[in-house]
C-alpha cells in the first residue's frame, strides 16, 4: 500500500514513523524516528560515500570458558529474586518488539565503549535474540575483568517459545 501511495501520488508516506503491529493483542504502536545528524550515510558529515559491502555471516565462535544457562533456568533464577544484572545486548528495535522485565538494554553495536562503565563485581546474565551476540559480549566481559558472567543460551527466541507454552 505504501508503494502504491507513493507511485500514484496518494496520501502521505510514514516518513520518520515506524508503525509496529502486534498480532497477539491486535495493537498498533508508532515509533518516531528522527533523522540522525550523525548518521554515517545521511547525516551532516557522512562517512559513507558508496554502498558498503558486508561479509556474509560466519559461524566460527569460540565460547570457551563462558558458562551458559537455559532460558528455563533463567526464569527460575529471576523468579527466585535475582539481584544481579540481566543484560540485553540486542539492538533498540529488537528490544522494542519484546524484552524481559527488569533487564538492562546495552546494544552490542555500542560495545565495547558502552560496556566500559558496567560494575565489574556484579553478577551478569547476558541475553540476545538467540545466544550468539550475547556469547560474544560475554566473552568480551570475561576478557576484561568481569568474573561472574553467564550466557543465556537460545536467547529471547527460546524465552518467548517457553513463555508461549506457559
Amino acid at each position: 500500500m505504501e508503494a502504491i501511495k507513493l507511485l500514484a501520488g496518494l496520501g502521505s508516506p510514514p516518513l520518520g514513523r515506524l508503525v509496529h503491529y502486534r498480532a497477539l493483542d491486535t495493537s498498533f504502536r508508532e515509533i518516531k524516528i528522527k533523522p540522525d545528524p550523525s548518521c554515517p550515510l545521511c547525516g551532516t558529515q557522512p562517512t559513507i560515500t558508496a554502498p558498503v559491502a558486508y561479509p556474509e555471516k560466519s559461524c566460527d565462535m569460540n565460547n570457551d570458558g563462558l558458562p551458559e544457562i537455559s532460558t528455563q533456568d533463567l526464569k527460575n533464577i529471576l523468579d527466585s529474586g535475582f539481584d544481579g544484572i540481566l543484560l540485553d545486548v540486542r539492538e533498540q528495535d529488537e528490544f522494542f518488539m519484546a524484552h524481559i522485565d527488569g533487564c538492562q538494554l546495552l546494544p552490542l553495536s555500542g560495545w565495547p565503549e558502552a560496556a566500559s562503565n558496567l560494575p565489574k563485581e556484579e553478577t551478569y546474565y547476558v541475553l540476545c535474540a538467540a545466544g550468539m551476540r550475547s556469547a560474544r559480549a560475554g566473552m568480551w566481559m570475561l576478557d576484561n575483568g568481569f568474573e561472574k558472567v553467564t550466557n543465556v543460551a537460545g536467547g529471547m527466541k527460546s524465552w518467548q517459545q517457553e513463555r508461549a507454552l506457559d
Binding site: 508516506p13 550515510l41 559513507i48 540476545c128
Partner: protein
Amino acid sequence: MTMTSEEQVRYSRQTLLQEFGKEGQERLKNSAVLCIGTGGLGSPSLMYLAAAGVGKIGLIDPDIVDLSNLHRQILHDSDRVGTPKLESARSRVAAINPHVEIIEHSGYFNAHNCLAIVKDYDLILDGSDNFPTRFCANDAAFFLKKPLIHGAIFQFEGQVTVFAPHLGGPCYRCLLPEPPPEGAVPT
C-alpha cells in the same frame, strides 16, 4: 499511455476511487518497482502490486522454494518446491496480471551491483532476510534518491515504514548505523 478496454475493466474498481482515478492508474502503469526478496514480505507485496497494475516489477531472490516457506510465502505454490524462487515468482506474477513487465535479476543483491540495478526503478521494496542486503538497499536508495519501503516481521509482530531522506525523514542507518555484529539476529 492509453489503457486497453480490458485494462479499464480490470482496474475499474480502483480508478473509481476519487483520489486514485485514471491518473493514478496511469502513474502506476508508468512505474517500476524493485522487489528484493520474494519471501514472507515480498510475496503479498508483489501480488498486490502486480494485481494493481504496476507497469514494471524487478525481482531479486537467489533462493530455492522450500516446503517450509509455503505457509507464509504465498506467492509460491506447492509444485514449485525445489525450484528457483525467481522462476516461481515470475510465473505467478505473470498469471496474476499479464500486463506487468517482469525483470528477473539473478544472483545476490550486493554493494557491487546495487546501484546499477536500482537506477532503473522508481521505488524499492525491501523484503530481504539479512542485514548485508538490507543495508545495501538502504545505501543504494539513499544515493539514487529512491523511496525505500521497509518491512520486517518477527513471530507475531511486524513493522513498516518508508525511508526517503530526499523527501524528509531518516534513513535505515539513522535507526541502526551499522549491521549488528555477527550472530543470529531475527530478520
